[in-house]
Amino acid sequence: MKKGIFYSTAFALYLGMSVSGCGTAFSSISDSLFKGGLGLARANRSFEPKQEYYIGRSVAALLLDKYPAYTKEAQLKYVNLVGRTLANASEEPETYAGYRFGILDTPEIAAYSTPGGFVFITKGFLQILPDEDALAAVLAHELGHVIKKDGVNVIKQNGITESLTSIGRDVAVSHAGVVAQQLNSLFGSSVQGVFDSIVTKGYGRSQEYAADAYSESLLKQAGYNPESIKTVLSILKARQGTEASGGWFSTHPAPQDRIDNLGAISSAGPEVKTAELIRQKRFERIKW
């Protein structure tokens, strides 16, 4: 009996020490049970890069069902060069399978991005942009959504991460067969939720303002003219009301509100402006 009490005490002591002295040990166990078991390994990452990639791929495949892909090689390569240059200057230069930039063959004015680093711009948008720096501003806005995990946060807001946690518990108590079905169902819900947000609902004003601010800072970081994001918003403002509904006009705040929210942007120096002209020439060589 005494021995039993001793062992109980010793085990309790062990757990207590694990929790207090070696927090990693106990938190790793709970993390494995409720998060890590599904690959949700890092506390600051709801999904590992690989999982973001697979979610993003399926969202992108839905987007390419809604809009046909523009397939001219030189144009695709140019957009990828601009986008990858921006990504290299960001705090997350690599995603699981790398950033990829596509063009959607539609006259609508819009740009989209999905988790994992798939970014799309429409041909209609490309045709109204004046130069490479303006293109970079649009792509940098979309990279802001990717890097700030706005798509992944939609999945969190929809309560899907809690459901994944619940499946994690099922795994722990061994509910064979149920897990795969639930996982597939949650994957479909996650993909549809992100798709609805980017195409019909929009992310919300605060995320869009944050993506505009991110665009300004990333442009500057990469060597582009940070004022270009305002140039793009002014172009959109001029076209507001003349365009059919859809695209950025229906999912983003009014261009003037976005301009106001950005506030003053310090003017680019003469060196940047000179380089901007060099970039404009190579932009003009591309016919969309």
Binding site: G23, Y54, A172, Q221
Partner: protein, 160 residues
């Protein structure tokens, strides 16, 4: 009495080993590559020379932080720099052994749950959503820009 003392001593030793080993794991977490592939570079810069390419799941040990990059060594003895965001922390052996003691899931469940959202869930999604255009996506996903071309493009446009 002697047996009881021996058992007690053994238990304490086992507990202490576990506690200290977990502390060691906490101090130096083992890392694994979280991206499909990433370049191990000679210095912590985007255009630095390649040491080798590391694929998803490769184990690396952190030597030191280097401002957004980390210096690591591989099991094959190569040393270099990778982006700090390119790795996941591996779970410690202790937590894995404790997990297996506390639970008894079936092997297939563990395998699936460990993978989470991935190729298997995409496959099911494709079956359920025939309109989803993965063929067009695969063409967009093809890598059409080399590191050399990127470097040249940035230099010509006076970009960083």
């Amino acid at each position: 009495m002697y047996i009881s003392n021996t058992r007690t001593l053994s238990l304490i030793v086992v507990l202490l080993i576990n506690i200290f080993s977990s502390a060691a794991f906490a101090a130096e977490p083992e890392l694994s590559i979280a991206l499909r592939s990433t370049v191990l570079r000679k210095s912590p810069q985007a255009w630095a020379a390649h040491v080798s390419e590391l694929s998803y799941g490769t184990s690396v040990k952190k030597i030191e932080d280097a401002g957004g990059w980390i210096k690591v060594s591989t099991e094959s003895g190569k040393t270099g720099y990778i982006l700090a965001s390119a790795v996941n922390e591996k779970k410690s052996a202790l937590s894995n052994s404790m997990l297996s003691m506390m639970t008894a899931p079936q092997e297939s469940d563990i395998a699936l749950a460990g993978k989470g959202f991935g190729a298997e869930t995409e496959e099911q999604f494709r079956k359920n959503t025939p309109g989803a255009n993965f063929a067009a996506l695969d063409k967009i996903e093809r890598d059409r820009v080399s590191e050399k071309e990127l470097r040249q493009f940035a230099a010509e446009g006076k970009l960083s």
